[in-house]
């Protein structure tokens, strides 16, 4: 598959990158690791006239820690995220999630910013140009039908990023920059459950940095991923859990799930099932049940929605059991 023609631009600063993106609007696309966008460009799902390579921008390829927060530049490779001693100690779920993305080569290429912005996927969308000519375009490809849910007015493509649930469970924020300024928002606010456009990023806006609060004393976290092939695959379901205990009761619980909808979701009811209570097999089972109820899968990519929903319960239980040390 050949790529179609484009102009390759290499801004040296965020300001310059934002100016280019503002000027060219929808005709421009950002490239960092390239592992997601280049495949979609080969499939003619996106045909930018301008490819903006942000890898030469200074200052967004480092991990900094001041003891209270980890600041991870958007360009930090997933392999560097998982190798970082600071991330492993202070945000273990994130290190585990980065190590679970694709395979080694993809982790060497892919960046944390890119993995957060991973495009949603669907069997009816992520296909070659020729394959897609066999039927009317789906919603995500600019048509008016969702083949996953034909009566639907919205697109049900799946979000399959691994690092986002870990970051959600860890309470991360993202610093977004654009030509009109910058803003820092909670990661949860970045996502919307719409397969067609799963983030609120404005055209020309990009993630510059991910800010992760350092785990409080005694807080543990993990990321568990179920996939067809252990060696290299997107998650069918992924669950991140962070847990803190004080005086024998749960003082902090955060659970986030990927692979179920068009955005990762925070399992609020699960958290409430644990907070203020003793963490035991019983309360964990209640939390898992709450996540099961909250999960409303529609897509039948790889497994049926019912199976996907049950996986949420299993993985939430396993993740909590692991972080609680009850295994």
């Amino acid at each position: 598959m050949r790529l179609t023609k484009f102009e390759h631009l290499e801004p040296k600063s965020l300001v310059e990158a934002c100016a280019i993106l503002a000027e060219h609007g929808d005709k421009a696309r950002i490239i960092a690791g390239g592992t997601d966008i280049l495949v979609r460009m080969k499939q003619r799902l996106v045909e930018p006239q301008f490819v903006v390579d942000i890898k030469r921008i200074d200052g967004i390829a480092e991990i900094k820690s001041d003891g209270a927060e980890l600041r991870i530049g958007a360009l930090v490779a997933l392999s560097d995220v998982q190798k970082s001693a600071a991330v492993r100690e202070q945000a273990p779920a994130l290190a585990e999630a980065a190590a679970a993305v694709g395979a080694t080569q993809l982790q060497n290429m892919g960046t944390i910013g890119g993995n957060i912005c991973l495009e949603t996927r669907c069997w009816y969308y992520n296909q070659t140009y020729t394959w897609r000519q066999g039927r009317e375009a789906c919603l995500k490809a600019g048509g008016s039908i969702c083949y996953m849910a034909k009566a639907s007015k919205r697109c049900y493509a799946l979000y399959s990023g691994d690092t986002a649930p870990a970051l959600l469970a860890l309470g991360a924020r993202v610093r977004l920059v654009s030509a009109s300024g910058e803003r820092t928002i909670g990661l949860e606010e970045l996502f919307v459950d719409d397969g067609k456009k799963p983030t609120i990023l404005n055209p020309g806006e990009l993630i510059a940095e991910v800010i992760v609060p350092v785990a409080a004393n005694g807080q543990r976290s993990t990321y568990l991923k179920f996939r067809r092939r252990e060696a290299i695959d997107f998650p069918i379901v992924g669950v991140a859990a962070a847990l803190g205990e004080e005086n024998g009761v749960c003082s902090k619980a955060a659970i986030a799930v990927t692979g179920v909808g068009s955005a990762p979701f925070v399992a609020k009811d699960s958290e409430n099932a644990l907070l203020g209570k003793k963490v035991s097999q019983e309360t964990i089972a209640e939390a898992a049940e709450a996540a099961f109820k909250q999960a409303k899968p529609v897509s039948d990519m790889e497994v049926s929605p019912a199976y996907r929903k049950r996986l949420v319960r299993v993985l939430v239980k396993d993740a909590l059991t692991k972080v609680a040390g009850l295994a």
Partner: protein, 155 residues
């Protein structure tokens, strides 16, 4: 718009004229003749096109040639010294870790990136390092054995 870039492949600097939409894989194979780097899925799933850039195993099918400018690119052609195979290649031969051979260059380079950084990897570490390289003749055991043997030999 065409651009003149310099690609450092196995220590040899090539000046090439490329269009930005050409992948490193295409330029290596079609412009420079490094056909040891294989093209298979062309979409990041199989690892046949693996090369090493600045010490790390990456996929040349998902790397733009213009973005590899000024970096150290290692391909399978740079492994042997004259008629003497690289220890990893020799280990693949000795352990019978080759069938059709199409995945072999990618696997050897993934193994090299691993062993350069970690000469004594555990079996699990070897598995993770080559998890992105598919062998469709089936059978990874001999490949794992070969990489472990190459690691031991280097010590």
């Amino acid at each position: 718009m065409k651009r003149i870039i310099e690609l450092n492949v196995n220590g040899v600097v090539h000046e090439v004229v490329v269009e930005p939409q050409r992948t490193l894989l295409e330029v290596l194979r079609e412009t420079l003749g490094y056909t040891g780097t294989k093209k298979a899925c062309d979409s990041g799933d199989c690892g046949a096109c693996t090369v090493i850039i600045d010490g790390r195993a990456v996929l040349s099918c998902l790397t733009l040639a213009v973005e590899a400018q000024g970096k150290n690119i290692e391909t399978i052609e740079g492994m042997a010294t004259g008629d003497r195979l690289h220890p990893i290649q020799q280990a693949f031969l000795d352990k019978g870790a080759i069938q059709c051979g199409y995945c072999t260059p990618g696997l050897v380079l993934s193994a090299k990136a691993l062993l350069d950084e970690n000469p004594k990897p555990s079996r699990e570490e070897v598995k993770k390092a080559i998890g992105g390289n598919l062998c469709r003749c089936t059978g990874y055991v001999k490949i794992l054995d070969a990489i472990e043997a190459a690691g031991e030999q280097a010590n």
